[in-house]
């Protein structure tokens, strides 16, 4: 206790001494944030560096040590002997470029990482910087007043590339990190493809029964019924459509989103009602229609009897007990790689089905950012984290010819890892690879990653189990990613992605109400009329308040 106090005290003393020189040096600089850490944040201690004040890649003259919360990948084996998650080619590269050094305040992987984040949030005991992997975690940190305002830092220090990426996503990433007009974190930016579910189906089963791949919901019902009835794969205990949850915004597959969407229902979204007012997709009449249909399908056995009850919902897919399911593009990575190992004859194909009445394949899309770089409130060098993101992003895009990166080392070993990438990154890779496969693009125009996928596909498409890891990636991009390029795909973004105050306080109760009613309707233990009662209850128990809050936030 005492030693730390003394250490802090000395640090404080040194810093305040430096501060005085900085203030004299950086006089005419616009000061935006009043009070606390904001001023010192943009101030540079060395008078000589005024010229490169806002250089996104400006190297620190003195080594700058940052304490970080380090997220680990527990199964990563890619680090060469002697390297560690906090000392490897990425940290050495950052040291070379920016003179940054890293110290792990704590490190943890998987579930343990989010535990660490929540303890840090609740106790206020934070590292200088860390990444949080959900909007809720960020909001809790902001509500608690524990993180630094990054508005000016991003404005002044973000590199042109990072700014270009944010702009490509219509600044939705920065909006996601904005609270009361201030950007409270450096947002990551992911490909949007993850949230778009498509239909994966056993082509070999279809062929055996002489069936075409279904395009409408009616055809899909017919195909599932035939699968169950004729059992073309000769599997024991075949089940209908599996579902982990009825619908989901991000990666909680398999879900039934596409069935809802075929009715024009988007229960995860904020939508416009017929009068143009904002409304939760949960209570839309289209959702009622979809539920009625799902209830009918469940009764007919077309949906897994135990869909709401399974503990490991991937199990039936891996054991090839189902011929159809809905999931995002990357299913090749998991679970289909395992499914192939259990049945090497399986031929999975992806389609955009069922189509809506308008003949389009409508799908919700997620918010482009659900990961955020946060900086502890009062940390003296918030711009260092922005510079880190600049350098890492440039490096991830392969733009520094001198970087000398071993591409075999997993990116999770970057000291702070949350990718900043274009929203259509997956589509871009898929498109190039497919063009090359069709001989429409010379192979030498592919990036190294695209070339790897291209070669993997040629090598494994006829014999997946010969190199299942290579097949996983290639199948995901070529078969799954390929569907993201189809013209009938129509992305329906939500009007709002954040969490309002009432959502936070009443969310648990409303979530319970909704899940209970929807599941009971489908499983037949409540009549479809229960939906109307649900709409009333939902509105009364906070839904109306939430809707009003969202409406107000959406006011231009």
């Amino acid at each position: 206790m005492s030693t730390r106090f003394i250490r802090n005290f000395t640090l404080l003393f040194v810093l305040s001494a430096m501060l005085t020189t900085a203030c004299t040096g950086g006089a005419g600089k616009p000061e935006s944030t009043a009070g606390t850490g904001g001023d010192t944040a943009t101030a540079k201690p060395e008078a000589t560096t005024i010229a490169e004040e806002h250089d996104p890649f400006g190297r620190y003259e003195e080594p700058l040590e940052i304490s970080i919360g380090k997220s680990l990948n527990l199964s990563d084996k890619s680090l060469p002997e002697g390297d560690t998650p906090i000392s490897n080619q990425f940290t050495r590269y950052l040291e070379k470029r920016l003179n940054l050094k890293f110290k792990a305040y704590w490190q943890a992987g998987g579930e343990a990482y989010s535990q660490k984040v929540s303890v840090a949030t609740a106790s206020g005991d934070l590292p200088d910087a860390m990444v949080v992997y959900s909007y809720s975690e960020l909001r809790k940190l902001v509500d608690a007043g524990l993180v630094e305002d990054m508005t000016d830092v991003i404005e002044q220090y973000a590199s042109p590339l990072v700014k270009e990426i944010y702009a490509a996503g219509d600044h939705a990433a920065t909006k996601a990190a904005t609270f009361g007009g201030r950007v409270m974190a450096i947002p990551a930016s992911q490909g949007l493809g993850d949230s778009m579910y498509m239909m994966f189906i056993r082509q070999d089963w279809l062929d055996k029964l002489g069936l075409q791949a279904p395009t409408t919901l009616e055809e899909l019902e017919h195909v599932i019924a035939e699968f169950l009835d004729k059992n073309p794969g000769n599997v024991k205990d075949q089940i209908g459509l599996p579902a982990y949850s009825l619908f989901g915004m991000t990666n909680n597959f398999p879900t039934l989103n596409p069935i809802f969407a075929s009715y024009g229902a988007f229960p995860t979204n904020w939508v416009k009602d017929k009068d143009g007012n904002v409304m939760s997709g949960l209570i839309a009449p289209e959702t009622r229609e979809s539920l009625a249909k799902l209830r009918e399908m469940y009764a007919a056995g077309l949906i897994d009897k135990e869909f709401a009850l399974r503990k490991d919902v991937l199990e039936p897919i891996i054991s090839n007990r189902t011929g159809v399911f809905f999931g995002p593009w990357w299913m090749g990575f998991n679970p289909l790689n395992q499914s192939m190992q259990n049945d090497p004859e399986a031929q999975w194909k992806a389609y955009l089905a069922p189509l809506g009445k308008d003949g389009k394949y409508n799908t919700h899309v997620q918010s482009p950012s659900s990961m955020f770089y946060v900086v502890k409130k009062g940390y003296k060098h918030p711009e260092a984290i922005m510079k880190l993101v600049n350098v890492q992003t440039e490096n991830e895009q392969g733009l520094d010819p001198d970087a000398d990166m071993d591409l075999g080392v997993d990116w999770v070993n970057e000291p702070l890892r949350a990718p900043v990438d274009f929203p259509d990154s997956i589509e871009k890779d898929a498109e190039k690879v497919i063009k090359a496969l069709n001989n429409e693009l010379p192979v030498d125009q592919l990036t190294s990653k695209q070339k790897r996928i291209y070669e993997s596909w040629l090598k494994t498409k006829d014999n997946p189990t010969s190199d299942i890891a290579a097949w996983s990636e290639a199948f995901s991009y070529v078969v799954g990613g390929g569907q993201l390029l189809q013209p009938q795909l129509n992305k329906v973004p939500s009007l709002y992605y954040g969490e309002t105050n009432t959502m936070v306080t009443k969310g648990a109760a409303l979530g319970k109400l909704q899940q209970e009613v929807f599941n009971k309707i489908i499983m037949g233990s409540a009549p479809i009329e229960a939906f109307d009662q649900f709409v009333n209850d939902w509105k009364k128990q906070g839904g109306d308040e939430i809707t009003a809050e969202v409406a107000e936030l959406l006011q231009p």
Binding site: G124, G145, E306, K311, V504, G507, A508
Partner: protein, 297 residues
């Protein structure tokens, strides 16, 4: 008389290290109990957060289905307390009657195993056995009974919770009673045998009375769990369809915490549980000493 006084010093000394550690690691963190009466904000800390009195407790009781949640919690918890006492007692007595030494040791070791598996693992096994096409339903089909979705049935779900908890823990809980049995003086059995007591009489007049103190003690301490229905288990086994019969205080607080960092609520609920346990334990202690002139601990 004089000797007693000198011993008192020894007694204090013997207690000192333990009491010191309890103060350091249990009492000091209790400053956190004040969070139960606050709108706690980590940024402001415990000393500067807003005071809200009993709002957090009130919130818990004002929920739409707080009645249901409390009823579920009480029912599941009490049944578990009963099962966790009765089954191990019976089991210990049966083991005690068993004459085959080796068999006895094997059984004893085997039944203690499930205690070491986490609910994540056991949940997978249980859903498999009780699944739509699981072992139990296959058995039922032999008797022409339609398959039952056990985990979607509000009738079956609490029974599954209680049954599986007892199944997991009975072997481990048996140990205490075995220790108590080992503590009964063999002289008493010899005396009973001389009196010509049969198996049943020995059980009634020697074994059971010898176990009463431990049984009473564990029953009393068990009261401390009337509001603990077992978060880990329920969390790993339930689903929205059985919220009606399976949602308990802890799972509810957990789900609220996912959205909202309700530190105040969580602490208030914890405090409520502690107070209820403490009151119940005091009551049983007082009752036992007044009416049976017996000190539980």
């Amino acid at each position: 008389m004089g000797r007693k006084k000198t011993f008192a010093l020894d007694y204090h000394l013997m207690l000192a290290p333990g009491i010191l550690l309890l103060v350091l690691f249990s009492v000091v963190p209790m400053f956190g109990i004040v969070i139960a009466f606050q709108q706690y904000s980590p940024g402001r800390g415990i000393f500067h957060s807003e005071w809200t009195g009993l709002d957090n407790i009130r919130y818990m009781f004002q929920l739409r289905d707080s009645g249901l949640i409390f009823r579920n919690t009480l029912f599941i918890a009490i049944m578990k307390i009963v099962g966790n006492l009765a089954v191990p007692i019976v089991f210990a007595l049966l083991l005690n009657e068993l004459r085959m030494r080796l068999f006895k040791r094997i059984v004893q070791t085997v039944v203690y195993l499930p205690h070491f598996l986490s609910w994540v693992i056991l949940a997978g096994i249980l859903t498999d056995i009780l699944g739509y096409k699981g072992l139990v339903n296959q058995l039922l089909s032999v008797f022409d009974i339609e398959p039952i979705l056990f985990f979607a049935s509000n009738k079956w779900f609490p029974a599954i919770l209680i049954g599986s908890e007892v199944w997991k823990e009975f072997g481990f809980n048996t140990i205490v009673f075995l220790a108590a049995l080992a503590g009964i003086s063999p002289a008493l059995y010899e005396a009973a045998a001389l009196d010509g007591a049969g198996r049943w009489q020995r059980l009634r007049h020697v074994t059971l009375p010898g176990m009463i103190p431990v049984i009473v003690l564990l029953a009393t301490l068990g009261l401390g769990n009337v509001l603990n229905a077992g978060f880990d288990q329920v969390f790993n086994l339930y689903n929205p369809v059985v919220y009606e019969s399976g949602d308990i205080i802890d799972t509810y607080v957990y789900r609220s915490g996912l959205m909202d960092a309700q530190y105040g609520l969580a602490t208030a609920v914890g405090l409520l549980k502690s107070v209820v346990s403490f009151v119940l334990i005091i009551c049983s202690y007082v009752l036992a000493s007044r009416f049976a002139n017996y000190r539980i601990f």
